[in-house]
Amino acid sequence: MSHIDEGQLHAYLDDESGAVTDREAVERHLETCAGCRERLQTERKLRERAAAILSGSGPGAVSAPPFDDIVARSRAARVRSRYLRLNRLTALGWAAVIFLAVGVGWIARGTVGVDSPTQEIAAVPGDSAPLGFGVLAQGEVPEERAAPATGEAEPAASGRGAARRERSQPTVMTKSETQAEGHAATPEQNEPQLLAEAEREERPEEADRLAAVAAPAAPAAAPERQAEAFADADEARNRAVADDARLSVVGGVRADAPQDVLEALDTWRVAGSDSAEQHIGGPVLTVPELPVLAYQVGEVGGTPTVRVVQQLPSGEPLELIQRRADAEQIGAVSGVVSAMEQARYKRDSVDVEGPAEAVATVARGAYLITGRAAIPADSLVALLKSISQ
């Protein structure tokens, strides 16, 4: 065997065998070659020195959290990811539908013409009598349309009359009509379904329960009944969310509430968790599983307030500003709204530092908690739901 190269010497020292080093051949050579033995000792010292240098710069004591915590975090991340993916797909679907609708409308415009129904009816008054339309204002609905169907033949089923009648009907369908048509729903209507689908992967029984109260009315039902069913389902869903998470979202005129809290940034003083609890006279609530970076105390409008800063997995901070609320403030809670409505409310109502930052306020017991983070508003609401002592 020729002399051993340094790569093989290091593999030998690292106890790597098999394809990397023929250990026995190396040992046989070392027995007979003093030069390689000397180099082996040199490389051994080098290896030990490198290991010593690296070990002196370690992170110190490492405490691994329970594996169950990791599993719980992974599950939550999966639900969020699935929801966001479904949401993106829904948005793409809607974009495609709108694109197709505009395209079809554009093509139809070229073949049918652009005259308004009013102009056309005025031009052929003789046709209007059999139809019973008269001359209608644009957008007005003829009485016949609202009358129940009798089963008799349509009085004027000719091409022009039928086309005109079709064009004189409102082009914008009501919510219940949209449901009755079928099969399409707005993103807001889809949201509970998307959440339920995402949830179903992790907690099938819970998702089924939520889906049951959030399910839209059957497509074949009458529009009026569907509208009622929709309202009932909406209310039931809100009740379910409220019962489930004991979460109430401050809505309506409360936009000023988070704002004055946020403007108090400079007044915070660092505190421990115990003194923070003493400061507000009750438990300080946090999002489980997120590390707490700081507890701070201060006053907002004369009310003792605590600010907890936690760190999201992305490294971004999540601020939770908590203060005791009086009966009047709690009474200002206008009711439970869906995450999508919450997102819209925050987007439209609250000035934020950056485009991706969301602010939401929830009431928990006798406290109002304002959360702020650079994450989607619905994700923020989901985090606020998980708040505990």
């Binding site: 190269d5 340094e6 790569g7 093989q8 010497l9 290091h10 593999a11 690292d14 790597e16 394809a19 990397v20 080093t21 490389e43 080098l46 290896r47 020195r49 490198a50 290991a51 240098i53 690296l54 002196g56 710069s57 370690g58 992170p59 110190g60 490492v62 405490s63 691994a64 959290p65 594996f67 915590d69 990791i70 599993v71 975090r73 992974s74 991340a77 999966r78 940034l265 660092v270 421990g272 590390p291 970076l293 700081a294 701070q296 800063v309 760190q311 997995p313 992305s314 490294g315 971004e316 901070p317």
Partner: protein, 168 residues
């Protein structure tokens, strides 16, 4: 065959933290990133879980470096505020520890990226086959790369140590 992530977690978490610490040079952050690595791992069934974990951890550390640049000022402020609440260690000991860390960090910075990665993966407990899978090097080249990396680390560290002594 499904991966026993609980067992991998038990045997690998500490190695992963050590590996990440040499990337981000912040013990708490290294622990957070190691946890995040496992959070992401549970959705997957890689053939070689350990090597796969170090790949993900390396990517997270790179993202972390980018995010650190973008991170908002007030987070830094908050972190420093939080740090001030911790009991202060012995100042001399703390200074020496910081200097030691700085020296190792600067010595590692003098290595090529490939040499540094191989060295840190070996230090984190990966064998040659795993290091080869992680870095894309041939398994037979790992010994040579390690030999070079170790030599350069020791030389660079020695130079920096001599310089620090001369400055005192």
């Amino acid at each position: 065959m499904s991966v026993d992530w609980a067992e991998v977690y038990r045997t690998t978490f500490e190695d992963l933290v050590r590996f990440l610490h040499r990337k981000v040079w912040d013990a708490d952050r290294a622990q957070d990133l190691a946890q995040e690595t496992f959070v992401r791992a549970l959705d997957h069934e890689p053939d070689n879980p350990r090597a796969w974990l170090f790949t993900v951890a390396g990517n997270l550390a790179r993202d972390e470096a980018r995010a650190a640049i973008r991170r908002r000022e007030h987070l830094t402020l908050i972190k420093s505020e939080a740090a001030t609440r911790e009991p202060a260690p012995d100042p001399a000991e703390e200074l020496e520890h910081k200097q030691r860390m700085q020296r190792v960090r600067r010595a590692l910075d003098r290595l090529s990226e490939k040499d540094r990665d191989v060295l840190l993966l070996w230090d984190a407990g990966l064998d040659y086959a795993e290091i080869a899978a992680e870095t894309g090097l041939a398994q037979g080249a790992i010994g040579t790369t390690l030999a070079r990396a170790r030599r350069r680390l020791v030389e660079a560290h020695g130079e920096l140590e001599d310089r620090d002594v001369a400055h005192r």
